[in-house]
């Protein structure tokens, strides 16, 4: 945080085989991109339990990214399709909680797509910057007595 200006906090779940390697490529190639994303490496985008996404939002994330192999390229055959189906359903459910669909993003990034990873991070950061902070508190601080 600089001078109290809003800096989006993003959490990214990246699959080991494609997207994490793609992010690694962006790093080793010294591509400059927004530093707002905190990356968590998972074996497959299909491993991302919707509970992880909710936990990220409830503990301060302003946006969550899931990134996996392109359709047809999943190391485990169909994990990314599971991620796709969960993403679409979870996005609808998050809207019922008042979490805008722009805050939850699914992207396919291959091991060769360092540039795409750079673009996704930059775009996502700017998009959330415009949307503003989520400040999730879940009604925790309402009751009067201690």
């Amino acid at each position: 945080m600089t001078n109290g200006a809003f800096e989006p906090r993003l959490v990214g779940f990246l699959c080991n085989w494609c997207s994490y390697t793609g992010a690694d490529l962006a790093g080793t190639a010294r591509m400059v991109y927004a530093p707002n994303i905190r990356i968590i490496r998972v074996m497959c985008s299909g491993r991302v339990d919707p509970q992880f996404v909710l936990k990220a939002f409830s503990e301060g994330a302003d946006g969550v990214l899931i990134s996996g192999c392109h359709p047809g390229d999943c190391h485990y055959q169909e994990g990314n399709y599971k991620a796709l189906r969960r993403h679409r359903l979870l996005t609808r459910m998050l809207e019922q909680f008042g979490i805008e669909k722009e805050r939850f993003r699914l992207e396919w990034v291959s091991a060769a797509e360092g540039v795409k990873f750079q673009q996704v991070c930059n775009e996502f950061t700017e998009q959330i910057r415009k949307l503003g902070p989520l400040n999730w508190n879940g009604g925790k601080h309402e009751r009067s007595q201690a």
Binding site: Y81, R88, L89, Q145
Partner: protein, 326 residues
């Protein structure tokens, strides 16, 4: 009444009364309970007052069974008092365990709920637009009502809870087992949900009818189809919370040919029942095509209300974002 009998209290918060009924439904077994314990507080059935509880020594009640979610300041005050006066607190039923049906109020707030209940329902006749106030002066005297919170809470979000009796309402065998375990001093570790730690599907009589690869092409609502009384509901395209719900209920709904709604909450391994069910349901949708996925997903009318029917307040997100309520 002998002094040696353990003292027991029953209290209700935000609930429908069904959990009180579950005690009465113990039928002849209630006599065994009454023979073994002294009931010292039970507002729905016996004439004890708040001041009677206040006068008791701290820790003097062996166990308090509290049903209902916490939605009012009065409920918060009462459960905090019972916590002080009781050795054990048992959250009795889905509402105190998870937030329950009243917990669905967490998709709204006080203002929108009052607006709907007191002003805009078709049957409302309220020309003066009167809504309940916390304080009002009548003939020089101040009358007060408890504060109505924007958010509904599960019991363990307000006080420390020792055990949970799940269900809407809890079945009688689980209640009797719990009472017996307390009387015998044979209790599981603190924090336990007093029902087997397996999913409903494990015990479901329809489990065998489940195809090897369970997939859904089209989601149907119970009223849209004639339901096969023997086939797995999910295999029929009907949303059944069984995979994400704890067993022990005796499959009462399944036997009445209705899918599981999830009142027993999740197993110990799961934090968030709704998210876990969403995960299971999404993974069995039978298409990899983006447009088709979206089409199927759109046919689930109210995903959050369906997956969190009984557990919204105890879920990870707990409620709808206040800023998003209009």
């Amino acid at each position: 009444m002998s002094a040696a009998k353990p003292k027991v209290a029953f209290y209700w918060c935000s609930s429908c009364g069904g959990c009180e009924e579950s005690i009465v439904d113990l039928a002849e077994d209630i006599l065994k309970v009454v023979a073994a314990v002294d009931i010292v507080f039970w507002p729905v059935a016996l004439d004890f007052k708040k001041k009677d509880v206040e006068a008791m020594e701290d820790g003097s009640i062996a166990v308090s069974f509290i049903n209902g979610a916490v939605r009012l300041s009065e409920q918060e005050e009462m459960v905090k008092m019972l916590r002080k006066k009781s050795g054990l607190i048992v959250a009795h039923g889905a509402c105190s365990h998870l937030g329950g049906i009243p917990g669905l109020g967490n998709f709204w707030n006080k203002e929108t709920i009052f607006n709907r209940s007191y002003l805009t329902t078709p049957s409302t006749d309220n020309p003066d637009r009167t809504v309940p106030l916390e304080k009002v002066e009548v003939e020089g005297k101040e009358l007060t009502l408890p504060r109505f919170y924007d958010t509904v809470y599960a019991l363990d979000q307000v006080i420390d809870v020792d055990y949970y009796l799940p269900g809407c309402a809890p079945p009688r065998d689980l209640i009797m087992n719990a009472i017996q375990a307390i009387l015998d001093g044979k209790l599981p570790p603190k924090g336990a949900v007093l029902s087997p730690n397996k999913s409903l599907c494990d015990d479901c009589g329809r489990n065998e009818s489940k195809p090897e690869k369970l997939v859904i092409k089209e989601i149907k609502r119970p009223w849209e189809v004639e339901m096969d009384p023997e086939k797995c509901f999910l295999a029929q395209g009907i949303i059944c919370m069984g995979p994400a719900t704890r067993t022990g209920c005796g499959e009462r709904c399944i036997e009445a040919n209705m899918p599981c709604r999830g009142c027993f909450g999740p197993t110990d391994q799961v934090f968030d029942q709704g998210a876990k069910f969403l995960s299971a349901l999404a993974s069995i949708l039978d298409t990899d095509d983006e447009k088709e996925i979206e089409k199927i997903v759109d046919t689930i009318i109210d995903p959050a209300g369906t997956f969190y029917r009984f557990s919204l307040p105890s879920s990870i997100l707990r409620r709808r974002r206040m800023e998003a309520i209009k």
